[in-house]
Symmetry: D3
Subunit: 293 residues, 6 copies
C-alpha cells in the first residue's frame, strides 16, 4: 500500500526557466535508467521476492523513495517550463536566433501535449517502457542489476550537472547524486551480504548443477577478435572470481562443428527449397498435392 | 570488421521437433537478456571505448562470440520447427487435443511470418529493441551492466534447461551455461581489475567531486516503508563499500520540504488555472487578449 | 513523497493455482487500461496541475491508491503461479493434454524471465508503455480521460470476473470493481464540478476564441458514409451539449476543394519528379549541378 | 469499403515554408491523439459494434472524415517543407544562426527518410502505434473514449494555433478546431442518448450485477494522500452520478490486510529463498534432486 | 477525401467459430505486412508524391482498396469470435482439454479488451506500428517496396489458407490472394514503366553522380564468409543489372584500414580513459578542474 | 560463427567535429533502413534458408559485411562528437546563438546516455527494433525485400551526402554508396537468377495453386479513387509481368456485397446490443443469469 504526502524530499526549484534543460531532465525521469525505471524495478522485485525480511524491506523502501524522485524531477521540469518560450508566437521570438535556437532544442510535446508540464518519456521523447525493468526472483542477480541501474543513473545525473549553471537545479542534482551514491553502495553491500549469508553464490544461479555444464568451456577465454592484449587481464589466467575454476586463454575461437543441413519444412510454408520447387515440381508431386488439398 | 565462418561453435541439433520449445528459445535469442542484446551491447561498448587495450579487446572478442550464439540458437529453432505441427491442417491434428495444445503454445509468427524459422523476437513475440542495450563509455558501469546481463541470461538458460528432456537441446544449453559462467566471471574480474588498475572507483562515476554532492544524504538508509528489519543489513551501519563513508540508518523518511506552488504557464496552453479561467475571464482580460491575437 | 506500508488494501489470495489466469490478470496490471496506467496518469496529472486544492488532492490520493492496486494484483499473480505447471519437465505433464493445454496458454516470460512472478506487461506480453498516459494540464479534458480509463478498466475486470470460478480471485475482483465504480463516479462528479465552478466549459479548451474557428463547420454532421440512420441521433439536430450551437445534418460530405499541386523539393532529396529526372536531366541542368557540388 | 476522392475537405496551403512547424504538425497526424488515432479508433469501434443503426452510422462516417484530416495535414506538411532548409548544404545556411536554429528543430527524418514529406509519426518522431486505439464493444465506454480523444485533440490544435502566424496554416487549423467542436459535441450527445435509449447506464458496464461488487467500497472516497481539501468536492458526499449510491469520505486509507506470505515456487526457477538455498541446501535435498534430474 | 460505403468488396463469413484462427488472421490485419501497413504505406506515398498522374492515381486507388481489406478481415474476425469459447467460465470448458487447448491459443485481448472483436495488432499481439511504413518520395524505390510488401503479404495469406478447412474463410482468402497477385503484378509493371518512362533508373537514386561514389567498390562481390559457391551466381561476373558496371569477385574481404584511435571527449562525460582517471588524476589536473567548476 | 578483426573496411574519420551531423548519421546506423537492419535481415535470412549454396553464401557474406558498416559508422559518430559542444557548460556556448543552435539539433542521449558515443537508434532517437527485419524463408520474396532495403538505404546516404561538406565524411559515404550500388545490383541479379534457375516464379509464392485463387479478380485494376489517368499505365491492359494473366481495367470499385449482420457475443463481454441491455434486460432474463452465475 502506498501513501502520498504533499511534500518533497528535497528542494526542487530552478532560478530561471530553461526549456532545453527541461527536456534534458526527461532522461532521468523516463529514460532507460531514469527514476521510473528504478521505482518500478524495485517494486516488482519486492513483489516477486520469495523471502520476507531485510532484503525485501530494503526493496520496498527504496522503491517508494524513487517514486518520490520522479515527483521532484517532474516538479522541477514544470517550473523550468513555466516562463520559457515554447514555440508560442511572440514578435521578439521570431527575430531572435538565440530564442529560436532554444526552441529548436525543446521537447515539443512538453508544449503541445502536456502544456508546459513533465512527461513520462526520455530526453529524445521515447515513452518509458517496462522493457527496462529487471525482476527475476533471484536476488543476487536482481541486486546486481540494481547496482548497474544506480551506476548508469548516477553517470547521467553527473553529466547533467555539468550542463547547467543554475544553482537551483544543481542543488537538486546534488541530492540525487548523493542518493545514487547511497543506493550504489547499498546494493553492493546487499550483493555481498547475500553471499555471506549463504543464500546465493556465483555463478548465478548458483544451484544449477555444475556437472550439467559443458565445464570444459566454463573458464576459458577464447579470442574471437584479433586483439593482441586480451590475455593481459585477470580473466585469462588464475582463479576465477566464483572460486570454482581456473581461467585459461585460447588465442583462437573454438574449432567449431559443421552446421547441420538446412531444414525442409512442409511445402505449404512456401520456403524456397531445391526439391519441391524444382525437381519435384517438375514431377508434379508436391504441386499435385497442393492442388488437391 | 566481421568475418563469418559457416560452422557453429558447438553442437546444435535436437532429437525431435518441439514447436512450443522453439518458441521458448526465442527468449534467449531476442529477449531483454537474449544473445542479440549482449552481442550488440558489447559491440557498442567497444566502439564507444576511449582506451585501446585489454578491456576493449575483451569486448570485441565477446561481442563476436555472442553473434555466434544467436546463430546456434536460430539454427536450433529451425530444426525444432522442421517437422513440428504449426497449424497446417491435417485430419489427425484437428482431433488430437494434445497436438492442438501444442499449437496453442506456439509462436504463430514462426509459422505465418518466417515459415518455420527463427525470428529476432522474445518468447512472447516482442521484437528485439535496442532499448535493451547499455553503453555509457564508463567501463566500470558498463562491465557491471555486463555482469548483470550474464546473470539474468544464465538464469533464463537454466530455467529453459528444466523445460525439456531432449538431449540435443540440453547439450547446446550445457554449452551456453558454461559460456555464461565464463562471461559472468570475466566481467567480475574486469570490474575488479578496473579498480585495481586505478582507472575507476566506486561510486561511479568516481571523478565527480564528492564536495558537490549533498553529502549528508550520501550514506544514510532512510526507511520509506514500514519494514522492521531494514536495519539488519550491512547497508545500515558500518563502512560503505566505496570506502568513502559510513552507513547510517533512519527509520523514517527525511522530513521533506513543502512543494513549490503550482506553475501558471502562458494562457495559450489552456491549462486549468484559477485566474485566467475564472476571475480574469470574468474580467475579460485574458479572453480579450486571446481574441485579439 | 510516497510512503509504503507492507499491507494490502484488500484480500488477494486465490484458492488454487492457475497459470493461464495469472496471464490474463496481467492485462489489468500492465495493459493499456491496467493499474499502472491509472497510477501513472493520475500522478502526472497532479504534478502538471496548475491549481492546488480539491482537484489536485483527489488526483494525488487516487494515484497512490492505484499503485496499491498494482501491488494487490502482482501479489495475486505470484500466488497463482506458485504451484502451477510452468513448463518445468514432469512425466505427468508431458502425457496430459489438459496440462499441456494450460502450458500453451501461459505467459512464458512469467516462467522464463520472472521465475513465477508478475511482470509489468499486458496479457499478450507487451511491456507497459508511457504512451498510454494522458496528462494535458487541462483538468476538464484530463478528468474526462480518467472517466474513460475507469470505464475501460471496469469492463476488463468484469470480463475477467467471468473467466474464473476461484472465490479468492473473485473476492479481489469484487473489490476492484467497487473501486472502479467509485472512481468512475468521482471523475464524472469532478467533470461536472469543474464546469459548475466556472473553471472550464465545453468545448475543451473553452477559452479558445469561438470567433477564430471556422464556425460554419462547428455544428454540422456531414455524412461521409452511406448509413441511412445517422440523422436519427440527437447529434443531427437541436441544441448542442456545449450550449453554443445548433446541430445541423448534411447527408453528404462537404464539397471540398482541389488538392494543391504536388511539391517539388530540392533535387538533392531525389524524389521522383517530372522535371529534374526527365526533361531537365536531358538538358543536363540538374545533373550538372549535382555533379559539380 | 472506402472510396477515395482527389480533393480535400478544406483549404490546406501555407503562405511560406516552415520546417519546424512541419514537425510540430506531426503531433496531430501521428501522435497519441492525432488524426490517425481517431480514424483507426472509430473504424475499429464500428467494425466491433454489435448493433446496426445510428450509432454505427455515426462511427463509420466520422472514421472516414478523419482519414481525410490525415490527408489534409500530410498535404500541409509537404508544402511547409517544399522550400524549407532541411540540412542540405548551402553557404548561407552554415553562417546564419537563425537558419541553423531552424534546422536544429526539424524532424530529421522528414528530410533523410521521406525526402521533404509527411510521416506517420508524432512531433518527437515516435511512430504511430495501435496501442493508442480504444474499441471495447461497449458503446458507452467507447464513445466516452471518443469525447476524451476529441478534447485532447482540440487542445493540441489550439496550442498549435498560437505557434504560428501563417494565415494559411491558421485557416486549416480553424477548420480542424471547428470539426473537433462538432465531434466533441456529437460524442457527448451520443453518450447521453445511449443512456436515454436505455441501452447503457453508469457505471460501465451497467449490466454487471451490483450484488457481486464489494459494495461497501463502491462509493467511498478514501484519502491516500494528505491533502486537506479532498472532501470539498461533490465526490465526497451526496448522491453519486450513477444514481445508485451515496458518496462517503474517509480521511484515511482503508485499514488494509496483511500481505500473504511470499511464494516458494519450484526450486528449478532458481529464485532466492531461505529453504532451498540455505537450510535444505546444507542438507543436500534440493541440490541432490537438481543433480539427479 | 475518403468516403465509406457500408458494404464489403467480397464475401467474408466463416461457417463456424474458430478463436485460434481469429488470432492468426490478426497477422494480416495488423502485422508488419498486414493490410493496415499497405493501406497506410500507399496513402503516405501518394501524399508525398511529387508528380500527379498515373502513378499517384494508382497509389490513391490501391490505398483505398486496402483499407477495405482491413474491414473485411476485421469483419471475419468478429464472426469467428462470436460463438467461440474465449475463456468465459462454463462447466464443459473446464473439463474438455480440446476446448482448453483452443483457449490456450487465443488472443487474450480479443476477449478481455475488445469483447470478441478484432484489434489493430498482429498474431502475437504486437500493436501495429508506423515503423512498418515506407514512403521516401522516390517512386522507383517505393514501388519496389510495394512489390516486397505484396510478396510477403501473399506468402502469409497462402500459409493461412492451409491452416483452415473452413470454406467461408478460404473463400475470403482466395479473394485476397487474387488481389495480392494483381498488386504484385501492378507494382512490378510500375517499376518497369518508371524506367521506361525515363523517370528513374537503377541504382536508386539514379541521379546521384556516379563520379562521387568510390566506384572501385561499386561492382565487386567481396566474400566476408567462407562459402565456396558465392562466385557461382550472376552477381560475381558479367554485366550488372543497372547496365553501368561489370561484376567482379574477390574471395576475401577488402584489406581494410586501421581503426582510428579511440576518442577522448570532455572529462565531464566521465568515460573511462587512461589520462584523466589515472595519470592526470594523480596529478590532480582534471580533478581540480572538476572540483572548481 | 563470427570472427572480428580490429580494422575497418574503409576510411572513417571526419575533418572536424559536428554533433548535429553525428545525430543525422544515426539514421543509417539504427534506422528502419540502417545498417543494423540489413545486417540482421541477411543473417536471419541465411539462418532460415532451406537450401545451401550460392544464395545462402551470398546472404552470409553480405550480412557480415554489413555488421562492419555499423562499425564504421559508429566509429565516425564517436569522432564527430569527440570535440563537439554537447551541452556541457562553457561561457562561450551560452552566449553564442550558433553554438546554441547546434546544441538544439543534437541527439541528447549521445551526450547524456552514451557520453559522446554512437547509439543503436535512428536520427530521431527511436531505438532500433527487430520489427524492421524481413525473413520469410522464400528467397524470391526475401531478396526482393533486400533490393528494397538497399534502395531506401542508398537514398538516405545520398541525402546525407548533401548535408555536409566535410571531406572525411563524404569519403566514407562515397564508399557506402558504392557498396549500396553493388548490393542493389546483386539482389536484383539474385532475384532474376532464382527465376532462371526455376526455383521460384511470380507471383510469390509461385507454388500456390492458381486454381484456388478468385482468379476473376487476379488481373483487374479496379479504381477506388477518382483519378482519371490510372488506366494509362501498363498495369491496366496487356500481359501481366508474371506471364500468367492479362491486365484489365475497371473505372469503378467492384460492386461489393452487403456486410454481414453485427455479431452478438456472450452477454458477459458487456458489449452494447439491443437485446440483452434493453428488451431482455427489462424482461430480466440476461440480468437474472448474470446475477445467478
Amino acid at each position: 500500500m502506498f501513501i502520498h504526502q504533499q511534500k518533497l524530499q528535497y528542494n526542487s526549484s530552478p532560478e530561471k526557466p530553461d526549456a532545453v534543460y527541461a527536456r534534458k531532465l526527461q532522461e532521468v525521469i523516463g529514460g532507460q535508467y531514469g527514476e521510473i525505471t528504478v521505482a518500478m524495478q524495485y517494486s516488482f522485485q519486492a513483489w516477486n521476492a520469495h523471502i520476507p525480511g531485510k532484503y525485501r524491506d530494503l526493496l520496498f523502501s527504496t522503491a517508494a523513495e524513487e517514486f518520490g524522485h520522479v515527483e521532484m524531477l517532474a516538479t522541477m521540469v514544470a517550473q523550468l517550463l513555466e516562463k520559457a518560450p515554447l514555440g508560442i508566437t511572440e514578435d521578439a521570438i521570431q527575430d531572435d536566433p538565440a530564442v529560436a535556437a532554444v526552441i529548436g532544442g525543446t521537447d515539443m510535446q512538453q508544449a503541445i501535449v502536456s502544456g508546459a508540464g513533465a512527461r513520462p518519456v526520455d530526453s529524445m521523447g521515447n515513452p518509458w517502457t517496462a522493457g527496462y525493468v529487471t525482476a527475476s526472483g533471484n536476488l543476487l542477480a536482481d541486486m546486481t542489476s540494481n547496482v548497474n541501474a544506480e551506476m548508469q543513473g548516477r553517470i547521467q545525473v553527473a553529466r547533467l550537472y555539468h550542463m547547467t549553471d543554475d544553482p537551483g537545479i544543481r542543488d537538486l542534482l546534488s541530492f540525487l547524486l548523493a542518493r545514487d551514491t547511497m543506493h550504489q553502495n547499498q546494493w553492493v553491500a546487499a550483493v555481498r551480504e547475500l553471499q555471506e549469508d549463504g543464500l546465493e553464490e556465483m555463478p548465478v544461479p548458483s544451484n544449477f548443477p555444475q556437472s550439467k555444464e559443458a565445464s570444459e568451456h566454463a573458464y576459458t577465454a577464447y579470442n574471437f577478435s584479433d586483439g593482441q592484449t586480451m590475455d593481459e587481464g585477470t580473466w585469462a589466467s588464475g582463479p576465477s572470481p566464483d572460486g570454482k575454476g581456473t581461467f585459461d586463454y585460447q588465442p583462437e575461437p573454438m574449432a567449431g562443428v559443421p552446421m547441420p543441413p538446412p531444414t525442409h519444412p512442409d511445402a505449404r510454408f512456401y520456403g524456397t527449397t531445391e526439391l519441391p520447387n524444382s525437381v519435384e515440381k517438375a514431377a508434379g508431386t508436391v504441386q499435385d498435392k497442393l492442388n488437391k488439398e
